[in-house]
């Protein structure tokens, strides 16, 4: 028999296999769902892995309180449509508990998110947390395992990772430890959009071109601060994380096909174009990951 499987079929099949491995091996898994495009793809893959049954894990979002309304609305609607349980834990709660202290109210909450995330994992006793990270996003992720071990402090030790051979994943942990699992490790941004197109998946409206008031600074587009006079441009978001450090790009791409075309000819990688905090230094992501960030 001659195979006619495309690269998307291959990636999909691998991801379904990984999701089922988590279900088979972990006692208490959870899937991170933010309403962003990568986690939307994860949910589609979970449907393919487990329907007509229910998902063998709840969904969880760590809300920084700095999310786009469109994305939060989308998150809730999608979870309800799937009929799956959605757990939300907020950085605000950690601030109230005193485990997170911010220097200023509008600083990026990406780092603080790690604290809330680990608190949530401890609260529910999760032993496996499925996320939508991709190896092509950033250099430090290129060596990340598919099943990535975290110690009892939630820390990642890049120099002491478990060897990962064939498709024999090791999800075993002691109490208090957990694994992060990345079923779409091998996908690129282009693969994601092609899959969204193929599966006709809905994504939050801000991924598509829309008119928005923005300020230009250092080659990036920002939301104007109160009192600032911005300009109105046609923009879209390539990632939809924390508002304070997620910048839109100028674009007229109003549908998936146009986004794919832009992605193919794009001259900037996803994080470079849109995430201020990753630009600081080559090693900033690696440091954040060690501290427990996704």
């Amino acid at each position: 028999m001659k195979s006619d499987r495309s690269h998307l079929d291959w990636l999909e099949s691998e991801a379904i296999y990984i999701l089922r491995e988590v279900a088979g091996e972990a006692a208490n898994p959870v899937l991170f769902f933010s309403g962003g495009k990568d986690s939307i793809v994860l949910l589609r893959l979970a449907e393919k892995a487990f329907r007509p049954g229910r998902f063998p894990f709840p969904l969880m979002h760590i809300d920084t309180g700095h999310n786009f309304d469109e994305v939060i609305g989308f998150r809730d609607a999608r979870a309800a449509e799937l009929g799956e349980r959605l757990i939300v834990r907020t950085v605000e709660d950690s601030i109230a508990r005193g485990t997170v202290r911010l220097r200023s109210a509008d600083e990026s909450r990406n780092a603080a998110q790690s604290v809330t995330l680990l608190e949530a994992i401890a609260e529910f006793g999760f032993d496996a947390a499925i996320g939508g990270a991709r190896r092509d996003e950033e250099k430090a992720r290129a060596k990340e395992r598919v099943f990535s071990f975290r110690d009892e402090f939630g820390q990642w030790d890049p120099k002491n990772q478990r060897p990962e051979l064939w498709d024999l994943y090791n999800a075993r942990v002691h109490k208090g430890e957990h694994v992060r699992v990345f079923p779409i490790s091998n996908w690129t941004e282009l693969d994601i959009w092609q899959y969204i197109g193929r599966e006709k998946l809905e994504v939050p409206s801000i991924y598509y071109a829309h008119r928005r008031q923005v300020m230009r600074r250092n080659g990036y587009l920002f939301a104007p601060k109160p009192g600032e006079q911005g300009e109105e441009l046609s923009v879209r978001f390539r990632t939809v994380g924390d508002i304070s450090c997620t910048c839109p790009v100028e674009s007229d791409a109003g549908d998936v096909q146009a986004i794919i075309a832009e992605t193919v000819s794009s001259t900037l990688t996803e994080r470079g174009a849109t995430r201020m905090d990753d630009q600081t230094s080559d090693a900033s992501m690696e440091r954040r990951k060690k501290e427990g960030y996704f």
């Binding site: 195979s3 051979l165 197109g197």
Partner: protein
């Protein structure tokens, strides 16, 4: 035609529209300074997936280091420690795509002290690119790289004879290196062994042909990678379906990925370990019924009869069964920093099945420079490759690794620490 369709098509072989080449995974191996990082950088660069901001960052880093020229190798070294030491110490995965195929590169270090990293990268690779430095000739390291690739069952090996620019692009230098490598590789009977002369630095014969190697008529590296056929070998093997997860709805569905071979509705199968014989009633994904599935497909199977099946069981071709074994011999690469404990308690993970295991005997050491047997002498340590006999508490259903990687491979996990300590290939 819609743009999406066009791009999907573009990602497929344009020959007959449906003849896509899917994904190819390959490993790159070379000794320090053979030019591996430069070659990968060149592949990414020339296939235009190195995007501008990455390039800008590399240019900045290059000037910080004081090297004036653009250093393509800086694109691939990921972790801080590695940047400090200037070497690659772990497996890093890289991605690029052409109109015909998506590629996943496992970039592994070449040093003997990182044999386990190469074994890791090779375990999932369909092909290996072995680098030779044309100015140095055939080094012991290159032999080791070929032997590890062979040991891990890689059928497609491309030998990149690099730095030919430093040898005047001489045909004789290339021919001599090729002859000595072929001579060494002959006993391994590698099904697809290919040689390509190149300069990774100048970009000759990597993606572009360049102007300097007119005497060479064969494919460029990228053309060779695009042409490798992987699916047909896996699909011609006997059907193997390790069960991952059982859904207990109205209809019992057995979820898993076809590890080898193909299956059709109506096919006669046997469920192991029970030995129950039945037929496949349905094959489905998300409510869609499929008439068949082949190696690599994640599906749900429904069976004609009520059979008790759980995770770790295997549904197989009723006429070509795997071997049920409680004792077997295997080649083993030790991965952990703690030495092998001959009386230690280990868990053996084979397909989706986990069983307790112990060593019955450790027979000899395998010299990865020559594949010769050597006496054991002392402990088995990280990066050692040995021949051993193992005993397991419950049977596992195996095929020889050389025939079927999916049912011939296993890992050992230390029961106390949960560390993955060894990779094994069943004979």
């Amino acid at each position: 035609m819609s743009l999406l369709g066009e791009i999907e098509r573009n990602h497929a072989d344009l020959g007959d529209g449906r003849n896509t080449r899917g994904v190819l995974r390959f490993i790159t191996c070379g000794s320090v300074d053979d030019g591996k990082s430069t070659l990968i950088g060149r592949l990414l660069h020339d296939s235009r997936t190195i995007l501008q901001d990455q390039l800008a960052a590399v240019t900045r880093a290059s000037s910080k280091r004081g090297s004036g020229e653009l250093d393509l190798s800086l694109l691939t070294d990921g972790l801080e420690a590695e940047r400090e030491q200037g070497i690659t110490i772990d497996v890093a995965y890289r991605y690029f795509a052409t109109g015909r195929r998506k590629f996943i590169i496992a970039d592994t270090p070449g040093h003997e002290q990182y044999t386990r990293n190469m074994v890791t990268g090779a375990s999932t690779a369909d092909a290996a690119v072995v680098l030779l430095d044309a100015t140095k000739g055939l080094l012991p390291q290159s032999r080791r790289h070929l032997l590890i690739a062979h040991l891990l069952g890689i059928r497609n090996v491309i030998v990149a004879v690099n730095k030919l620019d430093l040898a005047g692009y001489g045909r004789e230098v290339y021919a001599a290196l090729r002859a000595s490598f072929e001579n060494f590789a002959a006993p391994l009977e590698i099904p697809n062994l290919l040689f390509i002369p190149m300069s990774a630095l100048r970009g000759d014969m990597v993606v572009e042909r360049g102007a300097n190697l007119g005497w060479y008529q064969g494919p460029t590296l990228l053309e060779a990678l695009e042409a490798i056929d992987v699916e047909s070998t896996d699909s011609s093997l006997p059907f193997r379906f390790p069960v991952q997860y059982v859904a207990r709805g109205q209809v019992r569905s057995y979820m898993g990925r076809v590890a080898a071979g193909t299956v059709q509705t109506g096919a006669e199968v046997i469920v192991l370990p029970s030995g129950r014989r039945t037929r496949v009633k349905g094959i489905s994904v998300l409510g869609d019924s499929l008439g068949s599935a082949l190696a690599g497909d994640s599906v749900a199977l429904q069976l004609e009869d009520e059979v008790d099946v759980s995770r770790g069981d295997m549904i197989v071709d009723a006429h070509r069964l795997p071997r049920p074994v409680k004792a077997f011999t295997a080649k083993l690469c030790w991965l952990a920093s703690e030495p092998l404990a001959p009386r230690g308690r280990y868990l053996l993970r084979h397909t989706t099945r986990t069983v307790k295991a112990r060593f019955a005997a450790i027979n000899y050491r395998i010299d990865v420079q020559t594949l010769e047997q050597r006496p054991l002498e002392g402990e088995v340590r990280m990066n050692d490759i040995v021949h051993a006999a193992l005993a397991v508490q419950q049977p596992v259903f195996v095929d020889p690794y050389a025939m079927d990687r999916a049912t011939g491979a296993f890992i050992l996990i230390d029961e106390a620490t949960n560390q993955t300590v060894a990779a094994g290939m069943i004979e």
